[in-house]
């Protein structure tokens, strides 16, 4: 199981189409405060199905669409595509055909509020993506994605919240 590439366009501060290939081992992301590092982490959370705007550090989901600068107009939609490879066969009835050894999941959000999900570039439903990621540890509120400040939250969290963290892995 591995991820191969992340592609973003119109997602938060990533206005232009950006490709980020991921090699084996450790990839480190660096840069000045506010340059967009955590936005990359948000993009991964978003494309694997995060539904809570608050978890993505914005008040409504529309907030993830590039909202313009003095020189650039806001974009009409946000899009993130994650290319990955799974080591097991998966059957998802009703979903488009795809090769588990090399495929992509995509998500698009328009200003109108319309959401679209893609499997290898073909439209699919959110639950196809959820079925596909089942058991991989990827998904909303994953313990595998530690957002900035989440470590501090874990310790100040209530005992019930810690339990739900364990329940998710169970």
């Amino acid at each position: 199981n591995r991820i191969k590439k992340l592609e973003l366009v119109g997602f938060k501060s990533f206005c232009d189409r950006t490709h980020i290939p991921f090699n084996e081992g450790v990839t480190v992301i660096v840069g000045p405060n506010g340059c967009g590092k955590s936005n990359i982490s948000d993009a991964i959370s978003w494309v694997v199905g995060e539904q809570s705007a608050k978890s993505l550090r914005t008040d409504k989901m529309e907030g993830v669409i590039f909202n313009g600068t003095q020189k650039r107009k806001p974009t009409g939609f946000a899009e993130v595509i994650l290319t990955l490879s799974l080591d097991h066969e998966i059957e998802i009835p009703g979903a488009p055909e795809f090769n588990p050894a090399n495929f992509s999941i995509g998500r698009r959000l328009y200003r109108s509020g319309e959401s679209e999900y893609y499997l290898d570039g073909q439209r699919c439903r959110l639950k196809d993506i959820q079925a596909l990621l089942e058991g991989t540890g990827l998904g909303p509120n994953s313990y595998a994605i530690l957002e900035q400040g989440r470590i501090g939250q874990i310790l100040s969290s209530k005992p019930a919240e810690r339990r739900s963290l364990i329940e998710e892995a169970a």
């Binding site: 199981n1 591995r2 991820i3 938060k12 501060s13 990533f14 206005c15 232009d16 950006t18 980020i20 991921f22 090699n23 084996e24 081992g25 450790v26 990839t27 480190v28 992301i29 660096v30 840069g31 000045p32 506010g34 340059c35 967009g36 590092k37 955590s38 990359i40 982490s41 991964i44 313009g68 600068t69 003095q70 020189k71 990955l84 991989t136 540890g137 990827l138 994953s142 313990y143 595998a144 994605i145 530690l146 957002e147 900035q148 989440r150 470590i151 501090g152 874990i154 310790l155 100040s156 209530k158 005992p159 019930a160 810690r162 339990r163 963290l165 364990i166 329940e167 892995a169 169970a170």
Partner: protein, 158 residues
Amino acid sequence: SIEQFEEAFQAIRRNFQEVFQILFGGGQCDLRLLDEDDVLDSGIDIIAQPPGKRLQNVLLLSGGEKALTALALLIAIFRYRPSPVCVLDEVDAPLDDANVNRFTRLVTELSQNTQFIIITHNKNTMETAQTMYGVTMEEPGVSKIIGVDFRQQQALAS
């Protein structure tokens, strides 16, 4: 189901004790159900004892000790149910040099089976990576990626 949770809880608890000792270079910790008789619903307590110190509630630890303990728990859960990639955003910020080194050594070891994406300002952490991407905002408000692939650089150099 109760058995599923119990199995996960015990495995994660063992992982937690193991990873804690790796990150702290010793000491002990535990995960306990607040209410032993209520496995179905009970919340979970975290107790930690860094090397040489007393066993106490995790809220009484120092800033860096808390961060390391929380990281040990999350890595413990991760080891029980690994995902293809693990994203860590500035988890090393409150750590001193010795703890950063223990953290990066553990990540390097785990990275044999898992991809890690680590966002950091820490130079020691940067040095342990195989691949480094810099994010810039030359044009204000617009992010851009520049890549520095060490392994490619080394391959070119040799």
